[in-house]
């Protein structure tokens, strides 16, 4: 049975949804308060969940990156441990430098909250291993700062190393502009493919009766 450590900062609000998701997938979980300095020894996966850590003050994720627990997360990731950042968690992981690029204010300035179709770009990683390339998934998004930016050289590297995970798309998989992200990028991973970040919320897509269960196969890939 896999053990999932879910971080909690002041202002995190997707910690319990994420816990529900992984318990539904038969994992054991711990919610780790940000003042902790160590992760549980049996941790198989760390989740930096969504929300508004520190009220998004300064920049989204900027202050959370210096919480005591993040040192342990960086060490864990550098040893090859799997880390997933969802929404605000993605912002925290870019701020702390575990993922390339940065997330800016949405191009239309609106907070966007809706179901969104996404195209799987690269499944050569644990997170999307259970999905097919070019498959279209339906996953909710809910963010104001999801406009992914990376410079040209950084973008080339992402493409060459198959680090682009997902793009906002229409139902046929054609990219669409949602928030101004470079080439509609919705999620990326690091070079060594053990740290993942995305703006959409797979933990909110677990049951068809609530609109989609496409989140299940994403999360399952990380605990396989």
């Amino acid at each position: 049975m896999k053990h999932v450590a879910i971080l909690q900062f002041p202002g995190t609000n997707c910690d319990l949804d994420t816990q529900y998701a992984f318990e539904k997938l038969s994992c054991t979980t711990d919610i780790i308060w940000h003042k902790e300095t160590a992760l549980p020894k049996n941790t198989d996966l760390v989740i930096v969940p969504g929300g508004f850590s520190y009220g998004d003050y300064l920049r989204s994720g900027a202050i959370a990156q210096f919480s005591p627990i993040m040192k342990a997360v960086i060490e864990y990731a550098n040893k090859g441990g799997k880390v997933l950042g969802i929404c605000n968690g993605f912002q925290v992981l870019t701020e702390v430098g575990l993922l390339p690029g940065a997330l800016k204010r949405n191009i239309g300035l609106h907070f966007i909250s809706k179901f969104q179709t996404l195209k799987v770009v690269n499944n050569t990683n644990d997170f999307l291993a259970k999905c097919s390339n070019n498959e279209v998934l339906n996953i909710p998004i809910a963010h104001a700062d999801g406009n992914y930016y990376i410079d040209e050289n950084g973008f080339k590297e992402l493409e060459e190393n198959e680090q682009i995970l997902l793009r906002y798309s229409d139902e046929k998989g054609e990219p669409v502009v949602i928030n101004g992200s470079v080439t509609s990028i919705a999620g990326v991973c690091n070079k060594t493919k053990n740290v993942f970040g995305l703006m959409p919320h797979p933990e909110r897509a677990l049951e068809n009766i609530l609109g989609s269960n496409d989140g299940v196969k994403m999360l399952e890939g990380l605990i396989a």
């Binding site: 300064l58 920049r59 900027a62 202050i63 990156q65 210096f66 870019t94 701020e95 690029g101 940065a102 800016k104 204010r105 949405n106 191009i107 239309g108 300035l109 406009n147 930016y149 990376i150 410079d151 101004g180």
Partner: protein
């Protein structure tokens, strides 16, 4: 001593808030505005009275947390 840190998105990085302000100014018939960039200003009251030390310290703060140098530039003024 007071340090004033101005932070702006880098040139070439699209600034959606600046764009929105520009549109609003156009709609209000203010003419002659070529471009609008929106940033933030952080004012730090320092205990140090040595300019050189203060500058070094505030630069470090700007690099480490106040600005995200992937997308932002900063300038520091000591007064």
């Amino acid at each position: 001593m007071t340090a004033i840190v101005n932070i702006f998105l880098k040139n070439g990085v699209l600034d959606p808030q600046g764009k929105a302000i520009h549109h609003a100014l156009d709609a209000m018939n203010f003419e002659g505005v070529e471009d609008v960039r929106m940033g933030k200003q952080i004012v730090l009251k320092l205990t140090s009275d040595n300019k050189e030390d203060a500058m070094k310290e505030v630069e470090k703060m700007a690099e480490e947390i106040l600005a995200n140098t992937v997308i932002e530039d900063y300038s520091i003024e000591l007064v």
